[in-house]
């Protein structure tokens, strides 16, 4: 197990290294941030000063090694725009995004799994067909459009829920969260549901397919021949087997929920890190983009690790193996 963890950490470090190299070179090729940041009225002297301050006058490989050296000490550089440490900028906004993503995930599971089970058990009923139609809509309608419609209906016309911002927050273990206050919760519902819609559809489909597949298997028939009631067959025999593929996909999807909540955050003016990264890419704020992507890589790795561990808990056939036996 420890050697397994060790090999996973090595893999993450290699990924981080390759990713940073790609982003560094990529952004270098796209353009010069100085052109974007400085107004056209800046004098050549001012220009030169800024270039030197950012270290952009040195060859790109040298810039990369400077970055690497600093990164090893935990310093990912200062934002070109805000002149603050890039890491701090991102960490300030991360709790908002994480909260949004987790609430969306919970919604996806709490709504998706029961609906999926129902649709899998009674695939020909009218309700199941409605559930499946809903999931097709969830898949195919663009997030931003649904977000706008939701604002129009629930905020503008009905006036039930607020349309933007995070509302009142309270500190939980030193981190500001919204879901513990009524005001915060009301601000959270629309964006979280908007973000969750696609995932709900996905979970419904995966669960339905899993249930339909497992119900056909021999051990379900054998459980019936043992005289087990249907409720127990579903709860014990079917559900655990259905969860196995679900865990993998959900793990990956959680990563993408966090990393790509950009659209929803923009529509609902949610003060998360998605907005920050879009702005930073626009002005080629390399330190922020790099720091953001590195955090994303680490987050994905951790999530994948958790998924693998969960997997081995649910499915005894999976054994975690690392360097040696």
């Amino acid at each position: 197990m420890s050697s397994y963890l060790f090999s996973r950490v090595i893999q993450t470090i290699v990924t981080l290294f390759v990713m940073s190299l790609l982003v560094f070179v990529g952004l270098y090729l796209v353009g010069n941030p100085v052109d974007v940041l400085l107004s056209s009225s800046a004098t050549p002297a001012e220009r030169l000063e800024v270039i030197q301050a950012f270290g952009l006058d040195r060859p790109v490989w040298e810039q990369y090694f400077v970055f690497l050296g600093k990164a090893l000490t935990g310093d990912l550089g200062n934002s070109f725009v805000f002149n603050q440490p890039a890491l701090d900028l991102i960490l300030q906004r991360m709790p908002a995004t994480l909260e949004l993503a987790f609430v969306a995930l919970v919604m996806a599971l709490v709504l998706g799994i029961p609906l999926g089970i129902y649709a899998g058990l009674k695939p020909h009923s009218l309700v199941s067909k409605s559930i499946m139609t809903f999931s097709i809509l969830g898949f195919s309608l663009p997030t931003f459009w649904i977000g706008l419609i939701m604002i129009m209906v629930f905020s503008v016309q009905l006036g039930w829920l607020p349309a933007s911002g995070r509302g009142q927050t309270v500190e939980l273990l030193g981190v500001p969260v919204s879901f513990l206050t009524w005001d915060g919760l009301s601000h959270l519902i629309l964006p979280a549901f908007n973000l969750a819609l696609f995932k709900i559809s996905l979970v419904i489909r995966l669960t339905r397919a899993g249930v339909m597949e497992v119900m056909q298997l021999d051990f379900v028939r054998f459980a019936r021949a043992k005289g087990m009631p249907e409720s127990r067959i579903l709860r014990v025999h079917v559900l655990k087997n259905t969860l196995i593929p679900l865990i993998t996909v959900i793990g990956l999807e959680l990563g993408s929920l966090i990393a790509f909540a950009v659209v929803t955050e923009t529509i609902f003016a949610w003060p998360g890190m998605g907005k920050l990264i879009i702005d930073s890419i626009a002005v080629l704020d390399r330190p922020v983009v790099l720091a953001y992507l590195m955090i994303t890589v680490i987050m994905f790795s951790v999530i994948n690790l958790v998924v693998d561990i969960l997997y081995s808990v649910v499915d005894p056939r999976v054994r975690l193996e690392g360097g040696s036996r």
Binding site: S3, S7, I10, L217, D218, F219, R221, F222, A223, R224, A225, K226, G227, M228, P229, R232, V236, H237, K240, N241, I244, V314, D315, P316, R317, E321, G322, G323, S324, R325
Partner: protein, 606 residues
């Protein structure tokens, strides 16, 4: 006679196919008395499993049954579902064919046993676990206590079937329904499970309904036998009378097609099966087999000290930590017109030997020569030309034909690939080949799904013949076929051997078929040949303990020859060894002319 424990009266079961109800079994009527074993026997599609499932009402919403199934004074068909659940697993236990899939892979063995006890017996967790240990002991699973916390994956097929039996018998049912319980198991394991069912039946005093296609198993286990054919019962009688003088032509046809171990005593050459007409019950006389073995020519296949190992890699660096010694120091020769059978149980390396010979699997060391050309060192083009001489037929005719290719094209493909014929000639040749294997040339335009299993295997044979091979490696080629079809395909293979002088390397686990078809036999165990020789010598004078064990495990299709057998509870051992292991060199002793037996180191004795 006492009142029957189960009484089936006019049972009809229909399936809904495309909005229409289609009858699958018609007017099935039979009884099972207390402590009696009744076998329902038939080929695929006979409705024997549907009968069993109808009794338990396990067929789901797409099926409906009418008639009466009376069990302990209740009609099961009209019972509400909650009362039916009380019968299932409690009063009637059931076991299925596939032990590998009958158990839930993600639940511990212990939980799968205790849930039945808690459901039907109202036991609490602690009591149920104690009872589960007792049950595992009863089905002869060693160190039962410790194994409760294991998952099905750490049990072998035979052990899993024992667990399934333990579950089915947990509540001491009055009736056990066993649906092909040994079909998926190796023959020595099958013997163990049959013995276990018999013993437990006597201990518990229950009745058994035994569903099988295997006449040998029927003769071993049942008191009475019900023969089914396409959904109807054609005959029902005591097992002895069925085997002695069956009344119905179908039963006679079925019995004559069953290969019987020991029936070839004194017969020097392979023998065709008598084919009995299913309507009249009359048998065609068996054509005597010609002597096809060409001892005057050089052997077409020479295998010399063949070794094939599969490395087992672990860790980041993928170091080889051990090897599966699939084939270990195997040597033999095969002549034109000769059939050499490789026989053994699963994991003995017989299939790997076959695959290594035409290099579908790369060999580790040793040499293989086909028609004087070395296979191991052949380049890609050389290998292609060698493979023209050596073709393969696989076990599953459903999977070895491309479902989207017309069979004519499938047969023509090898000829076209090797550039032997143009398209127009290919068609003619395909027609001839189809005729040769007993099909009509007009069938070339059909797709594989339009054929039955036996016909598909004929198509596979035609495809193998397309390149005029000298050697055919037949890997379990008749194992998936029903008995009557199996007999026909074996007869066809013998015909072709006479006409074309083919050499067969016949790989099989079925001792009785092997006895019928081979000139020579090699018995494999853990990757090694333990005994090889002329068929008569090996079968009539088996020398190696493993050969003897294998032969005594084969059920004999004759109820008057039932034996009391001493059956060990051995598992089949694994051919895995840690890296660096060097097997001891093998030594053989010649018992009689051409009959070699491995000299046994003491620990090797099976």
């Amino acid at each position: 006679m006492t009142r029957p424990i189960l009484s089936i009266d006019d049972l009809n079961t229909a399936f809904k196919v495309g909005g229409e109800w289609r009858n699958v079994i018609r007017d099935v009527t039979f009884d099972i008395a207390e402590r009696e074993t009744v076998a329902v026997v038939g080929e695929s599609g006979s409705g024997k499993s549907v009968t069993a499932m109808s009794i338990m009402r396990l067929l789901g919403p797409n099926a409906r049954s009418t008639g009466r199934i009376e069990f302990e004074g209740q009609d099961l068909l009209s019972l509400p579902m909650d009362l039916m659940q009380h019968i299932r697993g409690n009063r009637i236990g059931m076991i299925f064919q596939e032990p590998m899939t009958s158990l839930n892979p993600v639940l511990k063995i212990g939980d799968q046993i205790t849930e039945v006890l808690m459901q039907h017996r109202g036991m609490d967790q602690g009591k149920a676990r104690a009872e589960a240990v007792r049950l595992l002991d009863k089905v002869r699973i060693p160190s039962a206590q410790a194994r409760l916390n294991e998952y099905p994956m750490s049990f072998s097929g035979g052990m899993r079937q024992r667990v399934v039996i333990a579950i089915a018998l947990a509540c001491e049912p009055k009736l056990l329904i066993a649906d092909e319980p040994t079909t998926a198991l190796d023959v020595t394991i099958q013997a163990q499970i049959l013995e276990l069912i018999k013993t437990l039946q006597q201990e518990e005093g229950m009745s058994v309904l035994f569903i099988t296609h295997d006449m040998g198993v029927v003769a071993e286990i049942s008191d009475r036998t019900v023969v089914m054919y396409r959904g109807d019962i054609v005959e029902a009688d005591t097992t002895e009378r069925i085997f002695r003088d069956a009344a119905h032509p179908y039963t006679r046809a079925l019995l004559s097609a069953v290969p019987q171990l020991g029936s070839m005593a004194g017969e020097p050459r392979p023998l065709r099966f008598p084919i009995v007409d299913m309507r009249t019950g009359e048998a065609q006389p068996v054509k005597p087999t010609a002597d096809t073995v060409r001892t005057d020519e050089a052997p077409i296949l020479k295998v010399d000290h063949l070794v094939t190992r599969f490395p087992v890699r672990k860790g980041i660096l993928q170091r080889t930590v051990g090897n599966i010694h699939a084939v270990e120091d195997v040597s033999f020769e095969l002549r034109k017109g000769e059939t050499l059978s490789l026989v053994g149980e699963s994991g003995c390396g017989k299939s790997t030997t076959g695959r290594s010979i035409i290099r579908l699997t790369d060999l580790t060391s040793g040499s293989v020569t086909i028609s004087g050309r070395d296979v191991a060192s052949a380049s890609k083009t050389e290998l292609a030309s060698i493979r023209r001489d050596a073709q393969m037929i696989f076990q599953d005719p459903f999977e070895s034909l491309n479902p989207r290719m017309r069979v004519g094209d499938a047969i023509a493909e090898p000829m076209v690939t090797h550039g032997l014929v143009n398209r127009a000639d290919a068609r003619q040749r395909v027609g001839k080949l189809l005729e040769q294997v007993g099909l009509s040339p007009a069938m070339a335009d059909r797709f594989p799904h339009e054929f039955s299993g036996g016909q598909r295997q004929r198509v596979c044979i035609a495809r193998a013949l397309a390149l005029d091979p000298k050697l055919i490696v037949a890997d379990e080629s008749v194992s998936a076929l029903d008995v009557s079809i199996k007999a026909q395909v074996i007869n066809l293979m013998l015909d072709l051997q006479e006409q074309l002088g083919l050499g067969y390397l016949f790989i099989s686990h079925d001792m009785a078929v092997v006895e019928r078809i081979s000139h020579r036999v090699a018995v494999m165990y853990l990757g090694e040949i333990v005994e090889i020789g002329p068929r008569q010598a090996v079968f009539e004078n088996p020398q190696h303990p493993y050969t003897r064990k294998l032969m005594s495990a084969v059920p004999i299709a004759d109820p008057t020859r039932r034996r009391v057998r001493n059956i060990s509870n051995d598992e089949i051992r694994s051919p895995y060894h840690d890296a660096g292991y060097t097997p001891a060199p093998l030594h053989y002793q010649e018992v009689s002319a051409g009959h070699f037996v491995q000299m046994q180191a003491v620990e090797k004795a099976a």
